[in-house]
Point group: C2
Chain length 436, copies 2
């Protein structure tokens, strides 16, 4: 595979962070083992990273990963083995599993992800069928997929507190649907085990809660290997009651942007970084890259045109943005043939099972690549994220990928803590929590 180069020409990266992580591998793995005993890890997870050469940080953590089809087929056995572990831990008695995907029946890439997930679970020894929540589906629909078997989507039925599809009685429900538009009635109060739990969906989750948990994790980890936590942790804050369309709550956003820009500038001065700081403003819940913008000055918030305001107001499934996350932007300095390449790391249970680059030729280093549909080219990692090469430089591919796997697991750990907090917190408190 073409190897992404770090092209931060202004500040030649010193790879201090990578060196520190590689040297501390036994300490780090020992620490992770302890963490996995203390916390219940999400069933699966993908983490978007940004690598600026001087900083490596997670910017998005997805608890319903949608790109298993983008992983390197050579390492799918790692997914199967990890899946066997995940099933053992969470639902050892499960035999039949019903997989509930997103409702994007026309997105072939997404359906290939579902087909791959189904195959991984089958290879791990589960019977798995796919139950669609799409209102239009009242009989099984076979969707042809390029280069593979057709995917059978079946209408989900409910009897009492159990979901099923025709002649199939699942003991567990696996969600690959992030519940952006809330928890549908058909999924409420079920007797079956639901994996991940309903509160892992965007109806409950807040990115600000995730990054608040990540703050703690990054702090502990930074102490463990004696680094500045900023090197792995983007500044952030959150604003509530924001309406870009009606221009409400913008003062909070503008102030937050300027505050974070100031914090970044201080750090850039401290480290002699001459890049221009930027901030990402995005919906505090939800995914798919809608409701997201890159800003270099607080006043820009007041100057959005109608199209930009529209984009910031609605996210997936027409939901209205009310809470926004204002997050330090981390430059992307990984390039392949002039195209920006952003790493995405996949985990099942607490195992890093692979990753890929999102490669995009027409976007800048400070823009978001996870756009709706498939406006990027996936480039599967051609080594795993576990085998380091002590004889190679710290930015050699196996070493760089190990480092990615470490930072991704920190975000995974943050998700575990984040999910624990939702359980401990009454929902009414939660609704208030993200307001400033």
């Amino acid at each position: 595979m073409p190897v992404p180069h770090l092209t931060n020409t202004l500040n030649a990266p010193t790879f201090d962070l990578e060196k520190r992580i590689l040297t501390a591998k036994p300490t780090i793995e020992h620490w992770f083992r302890k963490q996995w005993q203390l916390h219940t890890v999400p069933f699966y997870c993908s983490v978007d990273l940004r690598n600026s050469g001087f900083k490596l940080a997670p910017v998005d953590t997805n608890l319903f990963p949608g790109g298993f089809n983008n992983l390197n087929p050579t390492f799918i056995p790692l997914c199967i083995q990890a899946m066997m572990n995940a099933v053992e831990k969470i639902c050892p008695d499960a035999h039949n599993v019903l997989l509930i995907p997103e409702n994007h029946t026309r997105n072939i890439f997404y359906l290939q992800n579902i087909a791959m997930l189904q195959s991984i679970m089958q290879q791990a020894g589960m019977n798995i069928r796919i139950g669609s929540l799409l209102p239009g589906i009242d009989h099984p629909v076979s969707v042809p997929l390029p280069g593979g078997e057709p995917l059978l989507l079946e209408p989900v039925q409910r009897k009492g507190n159990k979901l099923f599809v025709q002649d199939f009685d699942p003991c567990a429900i696996l969600l690959n649907n992030d519940l952006s538009s809330g928890v549908p009635e058909i999924l409420q109060n079920l007797d079956q085990t639901i994996i991940p739990p309903l509160h892992a969906g965007w109806a409950t989750r807040r990115k600000s809660w995730h990054f608040s948990a990540y703050d703690n994790v990054a702090q502990d980890f930074a102490e463990l290997i004696d680094i500045d936590p900023w090197l792995i942790n983007p500044y952030f804050t959150a604003c509530g009651k924001v309406d870009f369309q009606e221009k409400e709550g913008l003062d909070c956003v503008a102030a937050a942007v300027d505050e974070i820009l100031n914090q970044i500038r201080e750090k850039y001065t401290q480290y002699g970084i001459s890049e221009e700081p930027f901030v990402i403003v995005k919906a505090d819940s939800g995914t798919y890259g809608m409701g997201i913008m890159s800003i270099k000055d607080g006043t820009e918030v007041y100057k959005l045109n109608r199209k930009q305001r529209n984009k910031m107001t609605t996210i997936k499934e027409g939901l209205v943005v009310k809470n926004v996350l204002v997050q330090e932007g981390v430059h992307t300095f990984e390039n392949i043939h002039q195209a920006v390449a952003e790493p995405v790391i996949y985990m099942i249970d607490h195992h890093v099972v692979g990753g890929f680059y999102r490669v995009h030729t027409s976007r800048g280093v400070n823009e978001n690549l996870n756009a709706p549909g498939m406006h990027f080219v996936p480039l599967a990692f051609d080594t795993t994220c576990m085998q380091t090469d002590p004889s190679a430089p710290p930015d050699a591919i196996p070493n760089r990928f190990y480092t990615y796997g470490v930072i991704a697991r920190l975000a995974l750990l943050a998700s575990a803590i984040e999910l624990e907090r939702y359980i401990q917190t009454p929902l009414s408190t939660l609704a208030m929590a993200e307001t400033r």
Copy 2:
């Protein structure tokens, strides 16, 4: 890789067993999950299988596997991931591990195994050093290995109830030494965790106990998927107080041989198998293919020449055979270019992490390939033992290897039960148990 062919020309294999196993995959994996909850699985394990086309069975289960170097490098990540699980379960607090190998410092193949094991544990995040029990070693010895880093063997020291090597304080001891000549004093009454436990060594283990546990496992499994347990289970019995040199106890052996030959003949008649039955007589403890012979009639036991009697009397490290296992021979009908090929399956924790064929051109289908030194050519499996291909025939390589992984895990489960029984049984009873 060249694919071994099943060349049982007299009885074209019907692959009924493979079909049954492949169809029942979800039932089997569900059953295994339950078993791993009920039993503590050995840390690692390798299982020698024999495939006669009509029968597939384990013939030897090694709790100190010595061929990690023979596995396909592509799938070493599976070993690393499984190792992380094994460490989490058995010694989550371990940071520094001392690996104690066999005393074969001149066997380069074995030392390559140790180097690979060290690398797997390092990649799993452990600090690992190699402590030699060789009396001659009083300072660190660096052994050059072809195509790799040299291996550093260090003299083991003991202080109170702790083992260590220079400037290295291990919290766990990993044995890759099968304790054939008993448990050396330096390993007795240690405060450190010893993995696998000392009673997994040949000083305690009896093959007859293993196959007795396997009897139960095979019975349960056969009921689960509705097959004749004989299809996966060789007949066996044991004789005590045997001395081939002094011609003592031979009546027991001869009678056992004839009894088992009769049992086999009945089964061969039942299944219309026209092969000639044979029986393997081997030491009830120990490994490395010494003290083993193939017999087709009980009277042969009385007609051994001096060389044969010698061979049957001493095994590894000059130990004298007193207890023998008499076991149904399973023909080897896997061939590569006229060479006999015998599968060996590797497991870490309860995960099948790979396998290889022992390929030997100069041996017959009913002889034992695990000879001292390295009189075979290893041929690594080029797929894992987990990904089945439902669209391919039952004997297609991925499907055949999955079946091998299932039977190997049955032997692993038998080992788990076997080890539990040693703990529950006073040693004096144990010493009597294998006598007939």
